[in-house]
């Protein structure tokens, strides 16, 4: 009797283990290892940081403090800063379009920062000076917040930004031209 009970228990345990193994194999059960969850958290960790957005008004630079999520990836931070500058200009500087910065990349040698937008931030009626100061505002915001890339290129639809007056087929220096 006792022997029969033992066999039944062993059979039950084997069946249970077999069922669990099958469930894991068929992905009915997904096992998350705690160590890997911890790693993912570290990768995506952001801290809130106070940044300063610069915009040109008449004859002087105006500063707007802004809280941004600062990450370990500099390209992500540059994207946040460029987007914040364009949004601020859209609200306060009369830009009629809401321009989205789709992504920002560094060139492999990290000397060039490539900014990809969904559309041109310029209206047809804008003066050369207004267009120039929009670009200068983005460049100043980037450099004053610690982005380090000597040259910046602007793209729309994966092509250099096209404008009647300003030439974006060439790189613009992060230092800008206004200081010269």
């Amino acid at each position: 009797m006792k022997k029969t009970t033992n066999y039944a228990i062993i059979t039950g345990i084997s069946f249970g283990l077999g069922f669990l193994y099958y469930a894991w194999h068929a992905e009915w059960i997904i096992i998350n290892i705690p160590a890997s969850i911890g790693h993912t958290k570290t990768q995506n960790s952001f801290i809130k940081k106070k940044g300063i957005i610069y915009r040109w008004h008449d004859t002087k630079w105006l500063q707007e403090p802004l809280e941004i999520l600062w990450g370990a990836q500099e390209s992500h931070n540059a994207q946040q800063l460029a987007q914040a500058t364009l949004s601020l200009l859209a609200e306060e500087h009369g830009l009629k379009k809401k321009v989205a910065v789709q992504r920002v990349l560094f060139s492999p040698d990290t000397k060039q920062l490539l900014i990809f937008m969904d559309q041109s931030p310029f209206a047809k009626s804008m003066s050369i000076r207004t267009k120039f100061m929009i670009i200068e505002s983005i460049l100043k915001t980037l450099r004053e917040n610690g982005i380090k890339a000597p040259l910046v290129n602007f793209f729309v639809d994966n092509q250099p930004l096209s404008d009647t007056h300003l030439d974006f087929s060439v790189s613009w220096p992060l230092q800008g031209f206004a200081g010269k």
Binding site: K124, S125, M126, S127, I128, R129, F132, L151, D163, T164, H165, L166, D167, S169, V170, S171, W172, P173, F177, A178, K180
Partner: protein
């Protein structure tokens, strides 16, 4: 030529026809010295070409010009002969004349063409404003006889930047000016010249070097920068208009131009508004032209 004065030489006679009577000896109006070349004896002759020791004068050329009057010894006789030896002298004189009379050439590019009407203003398109302003400025500038103005293209003509740059570079203009207008009620003027970020390559004239069109400006970049200082004289007009002093940026309107080149952007609503800018720009361009000619 009408400025040249004459004084009479003592009566002389020549063996050839048409040289009897007296000779006219021209005097340089500036230096009050006799001019080195002699005129033919007939005062009615329109052929005049005299060379002062200090300055040359150009005039009409005719076959009679080649008649050389030669005083032989003290006999007060003149022998006129067609002299070949005078020809090189005349060519040299012509060369000096052409060099001294070279005008300062400004090419004005009124932005907009048949394919591009430009920005919209209250009384029409940018294309019309730039054209009318360019023609008025040309008229005003050419009142100074030392300045010649060429427009980059006609009103009914398509003109790409490549075409305009080729035209300006072939003519070897002394200055290139791109005119732009945008709509604004407040009168303002912004001046730009070309500059890009990547390099300001030193121009080595001792060997051939290939440059992309975006780098054509490097050949005269120092001169462009130096002449840009003239625009700062516009401060005398600051009460009338807002002035944004020269900025060096990569601007498409000046791409490929070798000569010192500036782009000017002016604000206006109506055609009448453009008159505000005629005198200030005329003053600066005339200053630049005179500095070059001196």
């Amino acid at each position: 030529m009408s400025l040249i004065n004459y004084y009479k030489e003592p009566a002389i006679s020549g063996r050839k026809e048409g040289v009897k009577g007296f000779a006219l000896k021209p005097i340089c109006p500036e230096h009050a010295a006799p001019l080195s070349a002699w005129a033919q004896a007939s005062p009615a002759c329109s052929a005049k070409f005299f060379v002062c020791r200090r300055k040359s004068y150009g005039g009409l050329l005719s076959g009679r010009l080649f008649d050389k009057l030669r005083v032989s010894g003290g006999r007060k006789s003149v022998r006129a002969e067609r002299s070949r030896s005078l020809i090189p002298f005349l060519f040299i004189s012509l060369l000096f004349t052409s060099l001294s009379a070279k005008k300062f050439t400004i090419m004005i590019s009124p932005e907009g063409d048949t394919n591009n009407s430009g920005r919209t203003l209250a009384e029409g398109f940018e294309r019309g404003f730039t054209r009318q302003y360019a023609e008025a400025l040309k008229e005003l500038l050419e009142q100074d006889s030392s300045i010649r103005v060429i427009l980059s293209h006609d009103s009914g003509e398509p003109a790409t930047q490549e075409y305009k740059a080729n035209f300006a570079n072939r003519l070897e203009v002394d200055l290139y000016l791109s005119l732009n207008f945008y709509a604004d009620e407040k009168p303002s003027m912004s001046i730009y010249y070309y500059h890009t970020a990547l390099f300001d390559a030193p121009v080595d004239n001792s060997r051939l070097t290939l440059y992309p069109t975006t780098k054509a400006y490097v050949k005269n970049s120092a001169q462009t920068k130096q002449r840009a200082q003239h625009w700062k004289k516009l401060e005398q007009y600051q009460a009338q208009l807002t002035i944004n002093y020269p900025l060096a940026i990569p601007i498409k309107q000046l791409e490929g131009i070798i000569a010192p080149a500036y782009a000017i952007e002016l604000s206006a609503q109506k055609i009448a508004d453009t008159h505000t800018y005629l005198q200030p720009i005329n003053t600066i361009l005339t200053d630049i032209a005179h500095e070059k000619n001196n």
